[in-house]
């Protein structure tokens, strides 16, 4: 039955990422087998879904009992059987468009290919993260039941790392496999959501800011730079042409900035005021859609005049009509991190990959392509050889003035986080 439910989950995962990623996954040999199994098993899986849940609930109890009492949350994710020595693979879940692609062959990813050439380890790369919440929902049942999620490595944002870590779903890293760990930039080495980075290595750092379609907004590039969050949320000119992030940290972060609060340090009341501010924009039909990572098409084809955006996404668009804007009120920092879920089958391989990603030339090549901020020392030197222009790019090597406009989001305990997430979900629907 576990096989069936896993097949069902895989199938649903795949179906979630329609249609481009779906096709891409079909093209990738590793997941094809899983997809076929899912196709065969899906009818029975739907039928037995409820039974599967019960079984999991039961086995979750026994897994808990093994590590102490059934109600106590284990502090660290349970280790699975590490097959790294015999199976030279690592199953990696990442966000869409979050890795470099060979300009001559879209199916080739140089970073992954070079890793294989160096270590002999194949990376089964799947772009199945569209939002932290949705991805958490996908893996939650398996993690709660103490099962292998089928993933050895995944990239998730700061607050979700905090949540998974507090729930005991992440495996602690074995630094013996990650000698490059010492080269992390000091400011990236000890984040509040994962003290001393016991469980994570940064994949990319970046900003949550605004993306603007100049034509659709009727603005010049210079005018666009003057935009504020308040303009986006209240100016009738952009009514029904605004995309907004559905994730609590992003969405409320902008709300807090617009209402004059500090995202790094706010009260319950300020939080509620920010949510009410967003609710009002939604009720007035100012906000057209709440989105995950799937907002780019609507911005480029003019359905949005402007939207919340991740810095690198906008920088990757090769279109002078689409610009990134730091709102007058400021913007948000985010960090996406590689982590290893409990019960992963190829933990050592995953750690070797983390180590590889911390090499300055690898990190610089990745960040040159995806336009995010490298987090290891020596990346600037390495970047000189790859793309000297990138050193002037504020999204890759931001100066002090740019950094000063970016705000961190307050670190929250599990209970508050869940409360805030559900409060914001009432707005996003």
């Amino acid at each position: 039955m576990n096989d069936i439910s896993r097949a069902r989950d895989e199938f649903l995962d795949a179906a979630d990422r329609f249609p481009e990623a779906f096709r891409r996954q079909l093209a990738g040999g590793a997941s094809r087998r899983g997809f076929l199994a899912a196709g065969l098993g899906v009818g029975a899986a739907g039928l037995l879904g409820a039974c599967a849940t019960k079984t999991k609930a039961a086995s979750s109890g026994s897994a808990g009992a093994g590590s102490g009492s059934s109600s106590a949350v284990p502090s660290e994710g349970k280790a699975g059987v590490d097959k790294s020595d015999t199976e030279k693979i690592v199953n990696f879940s990442n966000w869409v468009s979050y890795i470099d692609v060979d300009p001559n062959d879209k199916n080739k990813r140089p970073t992954l290919d070079n890793f294989k050439a160096e270590t002999g380890i194949t990376v089964n790369y799947t772009e199945d993260v569209n939002s932290n919440d949705d991805f958490f929902a996908k893996i939650h049942q398996q993690l709660a039941a103490g099962q292998d999620t089928g993933r050895d490595l995944m990239v998730l944002s700061d607050w979700m790392i905090g949540k998974l870590r507090q729930m005991g779903y992440l495996e602690p890293l074995n630094l013996a496999n990650i000698p490059n760990f010492k080269d992390l930039l000091p400011e990236a080495a000890n984040p509040a959501y994962d003290p001393n980075r016991k469980h994570t290595v940064p994949w990319a750092l970046g900003f949550t800011l605004m993306g603007v379609n100049l034509k659709s907004a009727g603005l010049t590039a210079a005018q666009a730079q003057q935009l504020s969050i308040k303009d986006m949320m209240t100016d009738a000119k952009y009514k029904g042409k605004v995309g907004y992030f559905a994730e609590m940290e992003d969405g409320v972060g902008f709300g807090l900035l617009a209402t004059g609060a500090d995202p790094a340090k706010f009260t319950d009341d300020q939080f509620s005021a920010a949510v009410a501010y967003i609710q009002k924009a939604r009720d007035n039909n100012q906000i057209r859609q709440f989105t995950g990572n799937d907002y780019i098409n609507d911005l480029t084809n003019g359905n949005y005049a402007m939207c919340m955006a991740y810095s690198g996404d906008i920088a990757q668009i090769d279109d002078p009509n689409i610009v990134w804007v730091v709102p007058q009120e400021g913007m948000l920092w985010f960090t996406d991190n590689m982590c290893i879920p409990a019960m992963a089958s190829h933990k050592t391989n995953a750690e070797k990959f983390m180590n590889y990603m911390l090499e300055p030339k690898v990190g610089a090549a990745l960040d040159d392509y995806i336009s995010y901020i490298p987090s290891m020392q020596g990346a600037d030197t390495a970047m000189k050889a790859i793309d000297a222009n990138a050193l002037q790019n504020q999204l890759i090597f931001p100066d002090a003035a740019t950094k000063a406009k970016a705000h961190e989001f307050q670190n929250l305990d599990l209970k508050t986080l869940d409360k805030y997430v559900s409060q914001f979900k009432d707005v996003t629907g």
């Binding site: 879904g49 409820a50 039974c51 009514k239 029904g240």
Partner: protein, 319 residues
């Protein structure tokens, strides 16, 4: 003197009774006759049990469970789950019903003339036209729905034409869209997508019913000085009614639970009950009993509406 034997005893003596062995054989035959129908029914019954009763039981029992994802769900017969989900999501349930009723009505408006034309006027183009009705099924449902995002994009020619004809302000005045120069992410675009996706389900049964109508009945109508409209109303429509009822049901029932269109073409104000169920069952909601309770509620609601409709429509022959 002994009394003469009764007639029955005489017969008994003349016709020897079945021996014990024969009686056993008879019983076997009888037993076999009694069990044979069940054996013949077995595949159907097994199918029903596996694909209907077990899942039904599973969903109903899940709907009265309590718990959470981390500790597991236990069957506690908490019927209050139904009250909870109704108070929390009745808006989405009602919205789903509204959208599917609208979708069904628009489908009928489009399908009746189309089926009529294909059945009676298309002549040798009949098969080709029917093939065209079915043709969209050769593309994936998701891709077809996604295509509507391009068709209805703000910069697309459809919206431009609608702007020129002042249809968009009209729609927004009616509350079907939210701004005067776009239609995506509104109830209008969701219903558009639904009508497009479900139209063949309405057309096919109506066409089948109409195709069976003898064209001479139309001639008879004309001979009796009925206008074309009167012929349609008095002859064609009643004869096509089973197809119309069937088509309505085939459209309405899946439309109630459909959420692909709402997710892909809708916005923050068009969330339907299918999305809520999905979120509770496998998504961020994470409360499986709530999802199950909503499914049961939706199923019962749809069933009641369907039965009422069939009763009202007064047709026994469906499709």
């Amino acid at each position: 003197m002994t009394a003469p034997p009764a007639a029955a005893e005489v017969v008994d003596e003349l016709v020897p009774g079945p021996t014990a062995a024969e009686q056993r054989a008879d019983k076997r035959v009888l037993r076999r006759r009694a069990t044979l129908p069940y054996l013949l029914l077995a595949p159907g019954i097994i199918w029903l049990v596996v694909f209907f009763i077990v899942p039904m039981w599973s969903i109903v029992s899940t709907s009265v469970e309590t718990g959470d994802m981390d500790t597991g769900f236990v069957l506690s017969w908490r019927w209050a789950n139904f009250g909870d989900v109704w108070s929390q999501w009745h808006q989405q349930i009602i919205r789903s019903l509204e959208y599917s009723v609208m979708c069904t009505v628009f489908c009928l408006i489009l399908a009746l003339p189309l089926a009529y034309f294909i059945a009676f006027k298309a002549g040798r183009w009949k098969n080709l036209l029917m093939a065209l009705v079915v043709a969209p099924f050769f593309t994936s449902y998701l891709i077809r729905t996604l295509a509507w995002k391009t068709i209805l994009a703000d910069d697309g020619w459809v919206v431009h034409t609608m702007n020129t004809l002042h249809i968009t302000p009209l729609l927004s005045g009616m509350g079907w869209t939210y701004s005067s120069n776009s239609v995506l992410q509104t109830p209008f675009s969701v219903v558009c997508g639904m009508v497009y996706n479900f139209l063949p389900f309405t057309v096919l049964p109506i066409y089948t019913a109409m195709e069976k109508i003898d064209p001479r009945l139309h001639e008879a109508g004309q001979d009796l000085y009925a206008s074309a409209w009167a012929t349609f109303r008095k002859v064609t429509f009643p004869l096509a009614l089973p197809g119309i009822v069937g088509g309505t049901l085939l459209t309405f029932i899946p439309a109630v639970g459909d959420y692909t269109n709402a997710v892909m073409l809708g916005g923050p104000k068009t969330k339907v009950i299918g999305t809520v169920i999905e979120q509770q069952m496998i998504g961020t909601g994470g409360n499986i009993p709530y999802g199950a309770a909503l499914s049961v509620m939706l199923m019962v609601g749809t069933l009641v509406i369907t039965l009422a409709y069939i009763k009202k429509a007064g047709t026994e022959e469906i499709v």
